[in-house]
Symmetry: C2
Subunit: 315 residues, 2 copies
């Protein structure tokens, strides 16, 4: 299996295609604008809760998950106004779910992190109670948005989006992974254990993001299987690349506390495979993710670019 060559040098992040760069920017802006619409400011006593939900959700991040929903939906459903509206609703929903998990992960009883995207984490900006509630309400809103008619006229599509998001993000997915992560601190995990942990903690939601696009676009069973495999592989590659970044990048580049895995004595892919070994593993996953998209031809170019970007990014 060939490595994605460009990633072998740190300068390689420049090799991300201009087309992907433009596409990421456009879709991130559309996701942002949809989030603005879906979590509008309110007056009255609930204002503080909504403000915290907006603080946790708006204004940044790579929107990798939202991008995947929209780009995969585009592969199947076209990019006309109506299809795009639906895709960005689902994209915003995944981003809300992701944001809730970050708000709760940052809490003092969990990772106790003061910074997120270079800004005070939600419980530092507001307070712990507000952060707990804002996270709770963001999870609820994610399911609510998927269930609303505007997300898709077909109830079977909407309920499948809900079901798969719940599977990906609950005890057998994201939250389960977070639990294993907390329990693993201070003892060494095997490569298998670390892979399982991250498959749940971050992999499931990234995989779901791709799958949601296929659900919206009513992809065939074979197409959906390929999209799921693509999503699973870039999810795994993403986490390995994250470990590499945590070990090599500065806090300024990351916009969050660097080296915190080491400080927390967490078992990482870098600890288990070394930096070069981890980079190789991520590249192989990215390549496999590209290969499984072969049946889609040029239409999947941005998704292939994304697979490379995931392992080549600098932050």
């Amino acid at each position: 299996m060939t490595n994605v060559g460009a990633s072998q040098s740190p300068a390689s992040s420049e090799s991300v295609s201009d087309a992907l760069r433009a596409s990421l920017k456009t879709r991130a802006a559309a996701v942002e604008s949809m989030l603005e619409r879906l979590i509008p400011r309110v007056d009255g006593p609930e204002a503080r809760l909504i403000d915290a939900m907006r603080y946790a959700t708006l204004g940044g991040g790579k929107r990798l998950r939202g991008y995947l929903v929209a780009e995969v939906a585009n592969l199947f459903g076209g990019d006309d106004t109506q299809a795009a509206e639906r895709a960005y609703r689902a994209a915003a929903s995944v981003e809300m779910l992701h944001a809730y998990s970050l708000v709760h992960d940052d809490l003092p009883a969990m990772d106790d992190d003061d910074l997120r995207r270079g800004q005070p984490s939600t419980h530092r900006k507001f307070d712990e109670a507000t952060a707990i509630l804002a996270g709770d309400a963001l999870q609820t809103r994610a399911f609510e948005v998927l269930a609303e008619t505007a997300t898709h006229p077909d109830a079977a599509v909407r309920v499948e989006l809900v079901l798969e998001l719940a599977r990906a993000s609950g005890a057998a997915g994201m939250v389960g992974g977070q639990m294993i992560d907390m329990e693993g601190e201070g003892r060494s995990l095997s490569l298998e254990e670390v892979s399982h942990l991250h498959a749940l903690k971050t992999g499931c939601l990234i995989r779901y993001s791709a799958e949601a696009g296929a659900i919206l676009g009513k992809a065939s069973a074979d197409e959906r299987r390929r999209i799921v495999e693509y999503g699973r592989d870039i999810g795994a590659a993403f986490q390995i690349a994250d470990d590499v970044l945590d070990a090599t990048a500065s806090e300024e580049e990351l916009g969050k506390t660097a080296g915190k895995d080491l400080a927390a004595e967490k078992s990482t892919f870098v600890a288990l495979l070394g930096i070069d070994g981890a980079r190789d593993a991520a590249n192989q996953l990215a390549q496999r993710a590209c290969d499984v998209l072969d049946v889609f031809g040029n239409k999947a170019d941005r998704l292939r670019d994304l697979a490379r970007y995931v392992v080549e990014r600098r932050s």
Copy 2:
């Protein structure tokens, strides 16, 4: 409007009909058994999370919400094995949602409560991080169960159950109410503000529980409106009765810290209306809840009994 006379004396809790008592017991056992099935024990590193979810959900509570789902569903859909299975799945889902809210409300950063149903609260039994995650995963599981095919063969019914649960429990419902409650501590609220707070914090989920039964049973628009009004009124009555209990009952009777509203300087119905005034208000709501069910005749007797029980209970 006639008061429900029996409630005027503390001995009145004995007047709860034998039929309701038996029905509550049967349905609570069925909800418990469904929860057992829906949150099965697991081995492996996720075990602690599942154990905490089970601890927070199983083994008690009045199951008022679950009862409402099942009893209203029975009003429309019959009580055969298949209809009952569906109703108890939705009932278990609401109980999971309710349990998650209690786990998070009890956290040190929120109400900081050590006792729940006479037992250590989840973060005292496990730890804070586990309690946060168990609450998160219980919310997710609630939506997952509703979205699963076994809950109803019609996707439109399932997605409506999801949508209305999300509306009832998110920022415009339960979580919004909890936020207002936190913000209101230490200052006096008007009767209108306290009513709004509780309509969101506890009322919406109780109202939803009744509505879920109507959704499952594909009730007509008028029938559903009546069930919603019934649910709204007993939800309000329930909270007023709760304030009365907090002011009058002992910790042993309640199975949780008594007098905590007073200690937290919370504005309560009792503070605003006095104990007798609060009892009268609860009784009037219970009566109105009974009246709106007139079209259902004898079939709604247990729901009427329940309306009285809500204001007459001792714990």
